[in-house]
Amino acid sequence: MAAIERNPATAESLAPPAGPATSPRPLRIALIGNPNSGKTSLFNQLTGLNQKVGNFPGVTVDRKSGFAQLTPVQRAEIVDLPGTYSLYPKSLDEKVITDLLYDRAAGNYPDFVVVTVDANNLRRSLLLFTQLGDLGLPAVLALNMMDVAERHGIRIDLPALERELGVPIIPMNARKGIGVAALKIVMAQRLDAAPERFWEPDEALLPLVRQIRYYFDLHNDYLALHYAQQYRHIGFLSDDDKAYLQELTHQYEFDATARQAAETIARYGRINDILLETVTVTRTETREPISNRIDKVLTHRIGGYLIFLSILFLLFQAIFAWAQYPMDWIDQGIAALSATIQENFDGPLVRLLTEGVLAGLGGVLIFIPQIALLFGFLAVLEETGYMARVTFLMDKLMRPFGLSGKSVVPMISGLACAVPAIMGARTIESWKDRMITIFVTPLMSCSARIPVYTVLVALVVPDQAAWGVFNLRGVTLMGLYLLGLFSALGSAWALKIVLKARERSYFIMEFPVYQWPRWKNVALTIYQKVQAFVMQAGKVIVAISVLLWVLATYGPGQKQETAEAQVRQQVAAQGWNEEETSRRVASARLENSYAGSFGRALEPAIRPLGYDWKIGIALLTSFAAREVFVGTISTIYSVGQDADMGTLQDKLRAEKDENGQPFFTPARAFSLLVFYVFAMQCMSTLAVTYRETKSWKWPVAQLVYMTGLAYVAALAVYQVLA
């Protein structure tokens, strides 16, 4: 192939003094290309499992990088850049690319780029390629999906195209790994020659462009033009530099939008000329492409929604039912480990380890099956191309609430667990849409609320039929879910008005062609999401869990010891057995712990909602996770953690207020239920919101807003019903 024959010569004549053999660091190569051009497949082929996910500085975009063994002696670092259609970024994700490629002096500036190009969409893909070429970046063109192109009757004269573009072209099929070996050989040649120039700023722009170029000491005119276009978004420019550029562009009356449009059109003109010489299309098939025929079914006005609902049903089945088994194993495993440690060792440190650290770790690990299943499902939907159709079906429905079609999947996932759901909101390009989605997703009733709902609903709602067919408890439960859904939509609508968008929201999106999922990519996605959750959200969860344990275990002064002594004095008189005694002791110690003191301190604030200090403790401890509510209530009412629901309900029914009436009236129970629908009682969610937004502003706003909403709603419910 021409590329390989020609390349050693270029590499030799232009190679820097330090040759590959003595190179102080491995080659650094950036992978760039349109979305759906097979970039991720190529990245996985090049690096295998040898990759890691970090973050680009300052933004939430994942920075995927890995090492590829190009030759037995040469390794190269490969950075996978977000998919983009041009070097003029439209979303925050895409800005990562320009920040990396503008700054030649930066430590992580790539030695050259591998541009993935879909052979079926040559014209559009080459737009990005010509821009990269004009920046003076050495490049290799990975011409992907050659097999499909051939089937479509697209014939590409590769040697001619190589001549026209001035870079080596490797035809390949990244999904199957065809062409990867050839690409590695070319990459190992340490390319230095930049491609042809395709477009130059015209005469009228030169005075401005040259002034910028010399001021910043840039290596070419086109880069200088990019400075003029995008100085506001270039991370590494100082405020002075930006002010200088603003003044300069103003002085030359530089119209960024019009110039950019003119440039794009000129590029398409040049690309058309090139393609006319090098590509012939003989359309053989007259049938509609298979993808279009599948679309007729999957986006059908009735069938489309029915299919979507069925897929959702399957998703829920997976998350609620299938995930239950591994979750039980994890739960039991942690419990067994904890018990083994406690049987063999004793002391405050051991208790800290088992009841604080291990319990917190269990709280992290327990989510892994759900996260893995959810992301496995989402990855398959994404890989097949179905996800794009879902957003297409739902966009109109979501628009009035300030959400987009892309918000649907995270919000639905939120019914299982807000943690993976919020991570799933990454697919939303528009900053505003994404923030709104992240903000309202925790209002969807997640699976952790189910234990709380179950206990309280069973306590006050009779188990009888309603309107003949429905069970009254079932109807109540559904009402709670709907309350969550409507509050999420309403909050989104309110936030839409409050939030100022920094960038414009687009829905223009390419429909990927349907294809079978690549299971390797699915597995990698699951692995990376789980790892990100455990490593980043996990740290915060364990820390807060330890803190809560300390608060619930230790008390001010000798109060706990005094209380315990009082309980022990009654043992003989009351005839308690050993088990009953230890429950009473645990209850008394919790009552007099710091958490108990907080519960009492909290009482004036929650009395209007109908709660007493005991519920106050439960509210506090269940801040870690909602399901802790049931466990804490069990401890407070000294039924023991392992008692079944029936025992707990009997205890709660027997609880009397100061007038001797039953404490858990419908007013109190519904007030609590409504509180749990709205309240942000989940530190994992806060931690993941922090991770995803890279700012404490959002989790704090979420906490304040949701707790406020919960308080007001619970207050209203209690005051009306009482």
């Binding site: 014209r123 479509h152 059109i265 299309v281 986006t299 297409f392 079906l393 966009d395 414009r504 390419e510």
Partner: protein, 92 residues
Amino acid sequence: MAFFRNSSPLVAAGVAARRTAKDLRVGETGTICCLEDPEMALKLLEMGCVPGVQVRLSGRAPLGDPLMLVLGDQEYTLSVRASEAATILLKE
């Protein structure tokens, strides 16, 4: 906007009553004449909505919005909101 209309090669004079991609019937094909909204135009251009390219409305979402547009002879499908399609003017 004014600058764009007057000086860009994209936009002919007197565009007020022209047909847009939004007005296509399902299955109908038109040729892109120019793009009206300058900012939207940049995004559309990058996605291949270039003047002179053929565009076919292959379907609408069940609620009428967004639209599915098939572009050019290379047969790839874009999903755009009706409001975005309304900025794509068609040749007579």
